[in-house]
């Protein structure tokens, strides 16, 4: 009708065109930049988070496993998956024999898997049998971990880890012998003599440390 006579919307088209051209000119570089920065940042952040979760879950699992040993939870060794849902960790307790005092020795393996992240922790623990019944002494000898998704049950790997720990055990024997063989005076002189070569923040309280060390020295 009458509206037919209204003339076509030329400026409107012009405005739209200027806007489109401008938007393209502004938006394109921004999108490009964002996708580059944002993309890699997000990826890193996600990867980091997954890794963190896997590691944390494995660590908590290891803690839980050790506390389980301390709680004298024996006789039922295939431990449950501790979390609900598909992302979970599994515990595996492997007895490796009996110790000198008849204590049971274990490898506690904890594996956490979050998407592509695998985290395995292994702890070596000795559980002293309750004598007569309840008190259970558990000594965790060490724990170490790996992010490699390899088969932890491979004995070769376990042995190499053990060998490494063996060195530490030898060193323990050495330090204990030294403490036992030294008199309190000798031990005090030896330890106090190190003060001068200590870094400054440690020197201030060193004498008090030596006193504490001497008082707790092993003796024969």
């Amino acid at each position: 009708m009458l509206t037919e006579l209204r003339q076509p919307e030329a400026p409107r088209k012009g405005v739209a065109m200027v806007m489109v051209i401008g938007l393209v000119a502004i938006m394109m570089p921004i999108i490009f930049m964002l996708s580059r920065i944002g993309g890699s940042q997000t990826q890193l952040a996600v990867k980091y988070h997954e890794n963190l979760v896997a590691e944390t879950v494995a660590f908590s699992g290891s803690n839980a496993g050790l506390s389980r040993l301390q709680g004298n939870i024996r006789g039922y060794q295939d431990l449950p998956d501790e979390t609900s849902g598909e992302d979970k960790f599994s515990l595996n307790l492997r007895p490796t024999g009996a110790g000198f005092f008849g204590q049971t020795m274990y490898f506690l393996l904890t594996r956490a898997r979050i998407k592509t992240h695998n985290y395995i922790m292994m702890a070596e623990a000795e559980q002293f049998k309750p004598e007569p019944a309840p008190p259970v002494l558990v000594i965790s000898r060490d724990y170490w971990n790996t992010v490699e998704p390899y088969e932890i049950s491979l004995m070769a790997d376990v042995l190499s880890m053990q060998n490494y720990r063996g060195m530490e055990l030898l060193r323990l024997e050495e330090t204990r012998t030294f403490e036992r063989k030294s008199t309190e005076q000798q031990y005090k002189i030896e330890m106090s003599g190190k003060k001068s070569s200590l870094p400054a923040p440690l020197q201030t309280d060193w004498d008090a440390m030596v006193t504490a060390l001497v008082s707790e020295k092993l003796s024969e």
Binding site: A16, G38, L52, S60, A64, E82, A133
Partner: protein, 160 residues
């Protein structure tokens, strides 16, 4: 017929589509930001749970009791064995610091913002003759982008 260019409607529709595509891309910034905050919260929660689990091992067995949900806040709370007091650089009781706005502002703010709380779910079984075990679920809860988050870990403590 006279050939027309793009109509305003067409351009607007095209822009709308462009916006739809752009939004996820442009928001990647905040996604990585959210992810970092998520990691920080998770890391902190796991640390809290570990802290509690370690304290449980040093605590007298009978002192391990249920802390029901919604749990206890770490900040501005009465003394407990896990978090308060938290540090003391002096040689006596008078110098203890708690998680309050005046003593530990950074930590206090962070805890208030994210509403971190802890709860303990204790399953206690006595087998007689002093053979008693507690299975403790440590529950850390916090708020993150409007969601109630929970981190759980479990420890066993025997009456040694």
């Amino acid at each position: 017929m006279i050939r027309r260019g793009l109509s305003l409607t067409e351009i607007i529709i095209a822009l709308a589509i462009a916006v739809m595509v752009m939004v996820p891309v442009t928001s990647m910034f905040s996604t990585s930001g959210q992810q970092v905050q998520k990691s920080r919260n998770f890391s902190f929660a796991a640390g809290l749970a570990r802290r509690i689990s370690q304290h449980l091992m040093a605590m007298p067995f009978e002192n391990i009791v249920e802390v029901p949900l919604p749990g206890l806040a770490l900040h501005d709370s009465p003394d407990d064995v896990f978090f308060n007091p938290i540090v003391n650089f002096s040689a006596s009781q008078s110098g203890v610091k708690k998680i309050t706005a005046s003593d530990m502002p950074a930590l206090h703010d962070f805890l208030v913002q994210n509403d971190f709380k802890y709860a303990l779910s204790v399953s206690n079984v006595s087998f007689g003759a002093g053979d008693e075990i507690k299975s403790i679920s440590i529950l850390i809860t916090w708020k993150e982008a409007g969601r109630n988050m929970i981190y759980r870990t479990h420890v066993y403590v025997s009456s040694v």
